[in-house]
Amino acid sequence: MKLGTEQSGLLGRVRNLAARRTEGRGLILLALVIIVVAILEPTAFTAYSVTLGRVALIGLVALGLTAVILMGELDLSVASTLAVSGVIMASIPDLGLGIVVALAAGILIGIVNAVFVVYVGINSFIATLGMLFALRGLAFVISDEKPVRLSNIDAGIAFGAPLIGPVTPRVLIFIVAFIALQVFLTRVRAGREFYAVGGNRQAAFDAGIPVRRRIFTGFMISGFVAALAGVINTLERTAADPTAGSSVLLASFAAAIIGGVVLTGGRGSVVGTLIGALSLGILQVALTLSGVQTDIQDIFIGSILLIAVITDPTQLRAAAASVRSFFQRREKAQIPT
């Protein structure tokens, strides 16, 4: 599970080291969650197939999102993409064709996002915020504001059944997506260039990296993965709900950021995102099992998130520095250089 891939060259090793450091906070949180849950609610682990399912539910979209965030861009449209692709899929009577069209729609949405970002030159935060509204609306329009049931419900139920042991197709797809993205971002040249694009775009451009193509690839990955999640959800639920994905956007961001992916780009890894998704998933399942009132669960999850995000070693150092500089300034108006 470690980012133990040996990369050649000094740059690779340095980057590797930096990337590993971004996961520290996520690892600490995960360890804490595992210890607390193991003591208080061990059922979350004995029923690990359920926990895995929850992790895959939270994590899949987060994986795609990570590819975009690594380049310093954002994709706020993932939840709406999930809903619209599900509705498209369920609206097509032929299951296979529906899946293909839905996935193609996801890629198309990624391309549209990228066109706005790359060619029109508007910020991805804005472009995808527009898409967030527009695609949700589109899901309502296509579905006539009602859930759309699959024509082949039995196929959906079969899809939700475990393949080998506890591994359902959802978990399998999640694992495959994780490995594919991990390999892409660490072993494939184009993927490694994502970090350069996110770290310093001008330098990446000057170094001959096709920045525009990389951004296109990133948004297409994000759109495709969100659509994939939509297809999986629709199959497992045997129906597509135009309101689907209400918790997906923020949960995905939370997973990525807990895992140490930096929103301004250049730093982070899908391993981190996986750690973030594991922490959140295990925590949620344990809280559900505990039967604690849902308000208290929310307070608990919020507190964990807040503590996780303010106790990053780098941030604690920064906090200490700012306290120091605060007092230094008090003592004397000496401007550090």
């Binding site: 527009g130 527009a134 329009v141 504001e145 929310d298 906090a319």
Partner: protein, 338 residues
């Protein structure tokens, strides 16, 4: 110092979105791009007056104001967080709901002044906690405010039991909610006053200058000896106070309060800010632009409802217009620069 390098890694692409004077000679397109939202809004209003039946009626103008007021107050406040380069404050959803429930619920039992006092304390608490976590601990604002949303809504529902609260028919809240000056409801006047005050704070005070300079260059501001933590706390406190007022206005309008009434305010407010032309990467922007953005979205939604267009298509239109407005802006600026 590691955190400072990340702020320097803002994609160069972002620069082209920022409003502000483009370098180079004056041209029609530059002029247009400077006034993009204003032109769009004016165009929309003119088209609506001519083609949409009933748009120009007094009752309808009041409705547009009702639409704009609560979300507008949130948005002009949140502009400070956006300008200080902290993306957005997701917890406004919890803050607006909390303020409205406290206003109605607490004033029913403990009186109006107690309600205002408690709401104020809670708003300051939100602002300070968000601000300290982001400003001192350098934590990511999206996650900090996401977690305070969870905590805040959880506590609100836990303590209030999630009930719907309504004020007495003859209480001060009801009176405030129904008060109008001609076709302009009092809530819209609150929006205008808040906008004016915050405009003054942002453009004419030292604090406003620090917010803007911190937003455009964190490292330089810090190196200049500014207590940046206080600047960030200030931005979040202003947002919280505005969200509190929005909660009051929202509760007064309907004389009811419930913990779900502000659902979606986070991204709706952000949309208004962005349509207004404030850069999501901080530094550049203005509350007046945000006000225009709010008016634009409110007028647009109003027109779509008047035309009998369904909810789905309304969302499509709003999303498309966000992208369109910003695209025209970006293209105009780019052409203008050449």
């Amino acid at each position: 110092m590691a955190d400072q390098t990340t702020t320097a890694a803002v994609p160069p692409r972002a620069a082209s979105d920022e409003p502000g004077l483009a370098k180079g000679r004056f041209s029609l397109l530059v002029w247009m791009s400077e006034r993009g939202v204003f032109l769009f809004t004016a165009l929309l209003v003119v088209v609506a007056v001519v083609f949409v039946n009933g748009f120009a009626s007094l009752a309808n103008i009041t409705d547009v104001f009702y639409r704009a007021a609560p979300i507008g107050i949130v948005a002009v406040g949140m502009t400070f967080v956006v300008i200080s380069a902290n993306y957005l404050d997701l917890s406004v959803v919890a803050q607006v709901a909390t303020a409205s429930v406290i206003l109605v619920g607490v004033s029913n039992t403990a009186g109006f002044p107690a309600a205002i006092g408690l709401a104020l304390v809670v708003a300051l608490l939100y602002g300070v906690v968000n601000g300290l976590a982001v400003g001192v601990f350098k934590a990511n604002a999206v996650i900090v405010t996401l977690s305070t949303t969870f905590i805040g809504l959880g506590i609100l529902r836990w303590l209030s039991g999630g009930s719907i609260f309504f004020g007495p028919e003859d209480g001060p809240i009801r009176a405030f909610g129904q008060a109008k000056l001609g076709p302009i409801p009092l809530s819209a006047l609150v929006l205008l006053v808040i906008t004016a005050v915050l405009w003054f704070v942002l453009t004419r005070t030292n604090f406003g200058f620090l917010i803007r300079s911190f937003g455009s260059n964190k490292a330089a501001t810090r190196l200049a000896g500014v207590n940046t933590a206080l600047v960030v706390v200030g931005a979040f406190v202003i947002t919280s106070l505005a969200a509190m007022l929005a909660g009051f206005v929202l509760a007064a309008f309907s004389n009811t309060a419930v913990s779900t009434m502000s659902d979606g305010y986070d991204f709706s407010a952000l949309a208004a800010i962005i349509i207004g032309g404030t850069s999501v990467f901080g530094g550049k922007g203005s509350v007046l632009r945000t006000l225009l953005g709010v008016i634009f979205v409110s007028v647009l939604t109003n027109i779509l409802v008047l035309l009998g267009i369904g909810f789905g298509l309304q969302q499509v239109a709003i999303g498309a217009l966000i992208v369109l407005a910003v695209s025209v802006d970006a293209l105009a600026r780019r052409v203008g620069k050449k």
